[in-house]
């Protein structure tokens, strides 16, 4: 197992290098740069000499190979550079947003699990009954409805309903407060995007739980357990569910990794200062340094998540052994 893990970690190096190469050159293939956006994009007088000076200071006039070396060599010195827009260290910019994105990802995952596992089990156990149909309709709706749209509806709904009931419209806070500082305010801001995202996320997991459980329930060992006279609850919880969860764990883990950097639109809808919003802003501002590091962070998260999923597989199904 250890050998396998080491091998996977070593294999991650060319993956990361390939991603670095790709993101570096793709970004520079897009016309425009941060200095033009910063100095000319406002419509105010823009002195071409100032724009050149800005480029010089940010190293944008350096040869490509020098810029690429600056980017890659940072990993060996743990100096990821500064944001081209704010001039602040990238580790600071990302660190600031990472905790919010992580919290949202955890909350959305909890919402998804809380919905998906019970509904998936009910749907499988009560196959082809009205309950199964209701759960399937609920989950299909979750897949069909984009979470950003649900987010918009939630905000508008809150504004309209609270105005109707209490006379004054209410919406969730739009500036972030840490859960350690003010847990109530933090929850009143983040519960809504967690529900909006968790619902879509749960829809996929519900369907996966249902189909995996249905497959397992038809296995010989389940029939054997039933013939032994075991209670249905014990058969499902102890024997069937654990095996059925393998693909569900994969889905949940991949979605979790996606949520950390991928809540681009939902973060905008709820004005959350997370990595998704930072991603959009850095791309919009042509902040090459920051965009590169954000892409690399997402790649790294996916590499780690895949590794963790593989290890979880072995734990959930002892027959799986990696060599």
């Amino acid at each position: 197992m250890y050998k396998y893990i080491i091998k996977r970690v070593l294999l991650a190096i060319p993956t990361l290098f390939g991603a670095a190469l790709l993101v570096f050159f793709l970004l520079r293939a897009i016309p425009g740069d941060v200095c033009e956006i910063r100095l000319a994009g406002t419509g105010l007088y823009a002195d071409p000499a100032e724009i050149e000076l800005c480029r010089d200071k940010l190293g944008l006039n350096d040869p490509m190979i020098v810029q690429f070396w600056d980017f890659v060599s940072g990993y060996f010195t743990w100096d990821l550079g500064d944001s081209m827009w704010t001039g602040k260290p990238i580790t600071f910019e990302i660190g600031l947003r990472f905790k919010l994105s992580l919290q949202i990802a955890i909350m959305a995952t909890l919402v998804a699990i809380a919905i998906a596992i019970p509904l998936g089990i009910i749907s499988a156990v009560k196959q082809d009954t009205w309950m199964d149909y209701a759960v399937r309709a609920f989950s299909i709706a979750g897949i069909a409805i984009p979470s950003f749209w649900l987010g918009i509806i939630i905000i508008l709904g809150l504004l309209i309903v609270t105005q109707h009931w209490f006379g004054a419209p209410w919406m969730p806070p739009i500036d972030y407060v840490s859960p350690f500082e003010d847990p109530l305010r933090n929850m009143s801001q983040l519960i809504w995007p967690a529900v909006a995202t968790g619902y879509r996320y749960s829809a996929v997991a519900t369907r996966m739980t249902r189909s995996a459980l249905l497959e397992v329930l038809r296995e010989d060992y389940v029939r054997t357990a039933r013939s032994k006279g075991l209670m249905e609850r014990v058969i499902i919880n102890r024997h069937a569910l654990k095996n059925a969860l393998l693909p569900v764990v994969t889905i949940i883990a991949i979605e979790f990794a996606f949520l950390i950097g991928g809540l681009v639109v939902t973060e905008q809808v709820f004005n959350l200062n997370g990595l998704g919003k930072l991603f959009v802003e850095s791309v919009g501002a042509q902040d090459f340094n920051l965009t590169q590091q954000l892409v690399m962070l997402v790649v790294l998260i996916f590499v780690i998540t895949n590794l963790v999923v593989d290890i979880l597989y072995a734990w959930l199904d002892p027959r799986i052994r990696y060599s």
Binding site: L44, T86, R97, L159, M171, D175, G284
Partner: protein, 538 residues
């Protein structure tokens, strides 16, 4: 559901126009409270001398003072400048208009406790006007007329000009000219203010969570007696307009200082009635249509004239102002400024005639003469709804009505500017001129082929000569005559650029926000020292 009441909106707007319920008499001003406002752009750095975005001005300007500023109680005036750090009135020039002597207030302190003197003003303006090599200063070109800045004693600053210029005082009042401490500049260098704040403004910096908010608290030692009225402010970053709008509706924020389109104003008034006050103003920003004179047939003035003659600006004003943040028909100078063209003067220019049929017939004739009766081209536009895409679509419709075949290429901001500035691979492009203090002589430099922000790719020595003469002209009547000549050359005879419609600023805000008065620019009047909250309306 309640429908939008035009009567209600009219009341709200008029209340602003007559100063009712917005500023109020001094006795009514209340102390206390924190003003939450939303900002739709982000902060690059804190250094006003380097930056150009309102994303920096709105949250950071309250921490700083200026030497002079636009009168916060009369920001609609383009010529009413008052002292901020200087004493008394803004001085009149001496020595034939080439010397301005400012007396500096005594007793002013920076937030770190250091006293402010004329040496700080000199150090600040030296950095802005004569920055050492490698130090960015976005507006040093505004001060081409300045020969030197001197501080003969601790309370006097003298600006000596190379020639008299009507552009000097407005340039001095530019809201980006934050006064820095000489001590900070000497001790920490010219980059320090990009990441640190030490001003003498009405509010003291508390914290900045990048991407989230900036927080300030009341400066107890502020030099304008009794001000500021607020205990503090919180500038919340909200890039999406829907969020900013909902934030005001849900009272997460009381105001947004940049501006909303008419529909957003109507939605807010419709939902909240008299809890919303609307302030509206002409806006010192304008979209232009810029033909690329490096490309045929746009190197032919007849073709460019045909483009401007095809556009019905008067009708456009009427209809576009209902859906977009544009309204007023104007020439090269901000409308209603003493140096701007009046309606009679405008209607003499190509593209402003009141007889549209005559105008389009002339356009057709000119295209025929130029051998381009079936002209086809592409309009390059920026992927921003308000007002770029709206105005771009309107322009295309206008040109099509005149028989031209026009398509539109909408690009995100980075490639849009790369097209204008580097690649130059466009036929005609939407372009943008947006300034802060109304400074016509500086603002109209946009129309010069030599200007760094002109994308028409032309040289016109006649226009340059008129402008140079204008720069050296001190009296207003002379300036006005020269600007008309300049306007005629730029918009009519050579039709280098086409002015579309001037922007229109709409600021719906919570009615409990008092004291803030709308200015003709989203960069102006943002120190918030005269803003207060009427708690009876909260």
């Amino acid at each position: 559901m309640k429908r939008f009441s035009p009567k209600l909106a009219a009341v709200a707007v008029l209340s602003c126009a007559f100063g009712l319920g917005v500023g109020g008499p001094a006795a009514a001003q209340e102390r206390g409270g924190v003003l939450n406002f939303v900002v739709g752009s982000k902060i690059p750095s804190y250094d006003g001398h380097r930056e150009t975005t309102f994303g920096m001005i709105h949250p950071i300007a309250p921490f700083y003072s200026l030497l002079i500023r636009v009168n916060p109680d009369n920001p609609q005036s383009a010529t009413d400048f008052v002292c901020d750090l200087c004493e008394g009135s803004v001085p009149k020039p001496t020595e034939g208009g080439t010397k301005y002597t400012f007396k500096i207030r005594s007793g002013v302190k920076f937030h770190d406790g250091a006293p402010l003197s004329s040496a700080d003003i000199k150090a600040t303006y030296d950095k802005i006007i004569f920055p050492p090599e490698g130090v960015p200063s976005a507006r040093k070109a505004f001060f081409k007329m300045v020969e030197s800045v001197e501080a003969p004693d601790s309370t006097t600053v003298v600006f000596k000009l190379k020639f008299p210029s009507g552009a000097f005082i407005p340039a001095l009042a530019t809201p980006f000219n934050f006064v820095y401490s000489k001590k900070d500049l000497d001790a920490h260098g010219y980059e320090w203010h990009g990441k640190n704040i030490n001003g003498s403004g009405p509010f003291v910096f508390v914290q900045h969570q990048p991407g989230s908010f900036v927080e300030g608290k009341r400066n107890g030692n502020y030099h304008h007696s009794g001000q500021p009225y607020l205990d503090g402010f919180k500038a919340i970053s909200a890039p999406k307009m829907a969020i900013r709008l909902n934030a005001i509706r849900g009272d997460r924020a009381a105001i947004e200082f940049r501006g909303f389109p008419p529909k957003a104003r109507d939605d807010l008034v419709n939902a909240l009635g008299d809890k919303i006050t609307v302030q509206e103003s002409d806006w010192n920003c304008v979209l232009l249509s810029t033909p690329n004179q490096m490309r045929e047939p746009f190197d032919d003035p007849r073709v460019r004239q045909a483009l401007t003659l095809s556009v019905d600006r008067w009708a456009g004003s009427k209809y576009l102002s209902e859906i977009a943040i544009v309204k007023t028909v104007g020439g090269v100078v901000f409308p209603n400024h003493p140096l701007a063209a009046n309606k009679d003067e405008l209607t003499q220019l190509a593209g402003y005639w009141t007889d549209l049929n005559k105008s389009r017939a002339r356009a057709t004739q000119l295209l025929k003469q130029a051998g381009h009766s079936d002209l086809k081209f592409e309009l390059n536009n920026r992927g921003v709804d308000q007002p770029y895409k709206v105005v771009g679509t309107w322009l295309i419709d206008q040109w099509r009505q005149a028989g031209l075949n026009v398509t539109q290429r909408v690009q995100p901001t980075p490639p849009f500017y790369a097209t204008l500035r580097k690649k130059k691979d466009f036929d005609v492009s939407v372009d943008f001129n947006c300034q802060s203090v109304i400074n016509p002589i500086a603002d109209i430099s946009k129309f010069l082929g030599s200007a760094g922000n002109n994308y028409g790719n032309y040289q016109d020595q006649v226009l340059e000569d008129i402008y140079n003469e204008l720069l050296q002209t001190g009296d207003e009547a002379g300036q006005r005559t020269l600007i008309r000549k300049y306007e005629k050359r730029a918009l009519d005879e050579m039709a280098h650029l086409g002015v579309t419609l001037w922007w229109y600023k709409i600021n719906p805000h919570r009615s409990y926000v008092k004291g803030w008065k709308i200015a003709p620019s989203h960069y102006l009047n943002q120190q918030l020292d005269n803003v207060w909250l009427d708690k009876s309306l909260m």
